[in-house]
Amino acid sequence: FMQRGLDSQTKKQLEEEEKKIISEEHWYLDVPDLKEKESCIIEERSFLPCEDLVYGRMSFKGFNPEIEKLMIQMNSKCKKEEVEVDDKMEADVSDEEMARRYETLVGTIGKKFLRKRDQRVLKDDDEDGEDDEDQNSKTIPTKKAKKMFLKPQD
């Protein structure tokens, strides 16, 4: 069959003949292909997913603590969805309290970062020191003078 002296033409003819034979066979293969359809039915032989059965190993009243832990673990896999919903309700601090805390928190932490001069002002404001205002006005400019750059006198 594999002769050395085959001309290219005869080779081509042989190939074409082979292809014809194969394509004729292909005709027969096409028909079964059309009939094959993917079935939408999945067969499941176990009862486990059907009736949502629980885990088979159980312990009661502390007989075997490891298995009791396992029971909680296994059964919580089913109830994960419920737990997620409950999380919103179970927050330790209610939303209102959080808001109130934040208000005061911002004030107290903000004070920390004020400069000393400003802190004094805040303090005096809180203490209702009307009499002290004059003193303040004296002290503040002096402080200001201190903090400003003093030009070296030649």
């Binding site: 499941e44 032989r45 176990s46 009862f47 486990l48 997913p49 059907c50 009736e51 949502d52 059965l53 629980v54 885990y55 088979g56 190993r57 159980m58 312990s59 009661f60 009243k61 502390g62 007989f63 075997n64 298995i67 396992l70 673990q73 296994m74 089913c78």
Partner: protein, 181 residues
């Protein structure tokens, strides 16, 4: 679960191995590296000694003939011998493995097992109020019970066996008598 699923519920006593089912098996033979387990099916299941949590070639599990094993089926079809393992897909034992000493093993119908395994099963809830005990339910119809005394164990066994045919009222009467004692 059960979204578009249809199943036929029938009463049967003979178990057919199904992949993924948790069952109680009895070790009948040790053949080199494999154990033969009787699971109540048409042929014994095989269990490799490496299919336990933390088992290596040097660290072999201590399994003797006559031991009880709680495991799940890795392979179970009608053409091949069923194969069991005592670890799950992540390599953890999660409660599977050799069931300890003492306790009592008995056989019930498959329908009762499914009833007992239903979520929020009344029988189990009522029994759990009685005394502390441990319970292993195999899908092959086998139940293993262990309580503090032999008497308590036998009481639980009798209630479980009888609850197949008792009505709920009869059961509650029987339990009321027991808790009264």
């Amino acid at each position: 679960a059960g979204g578009g699923a249809y199943w036929v519920d029938s009463q049967q006593k003979r178990y057919v191995p199904v992949k993924g089912d948790h069952v109680i098996g009895i070790v009948t033979a040790k053949a080199g590296d494999m154990f033969k387990l009787d699971v109540g099916g048409s042929e014994p299941a095989s269990l490799s000694y490496l299919a336990f949590e933390g088992a290596t070639k040097r660290n072999r599990p201590n399994v003797q003939v006559g031991d009880l094993i709680y495991g799940q089926f890795l392979v179970a079809n009608k053409d091949m011998e069923p194969e069991m393992v005592c670890i799950d897909s992540s390599g953890k034992s999660s409660g599977m493995g050799i069931i300890g000493q003492d306790g009592f093993l008995f056989k019930v119908s498959l329908g009762l097992i499914r009833k007992l395994l239903a979520p929020k099963c009344e029988i189990i809830q009522e029994l759990s109020q009685l005394y502390p005990f441990e319970l292993v339910l195999g899908m092959n119809g086998r139940i293993w019970v262990k309580a503090k005394t032999v008497q308590q164990t036998l009481i639980i066994v009798n209630i479980l066996e009888a609850s197949e045919y008792m009505t709920a009222e009869q059961r509650k009467q029987a339990l009321a008598k027991l808790s009264g004692n």
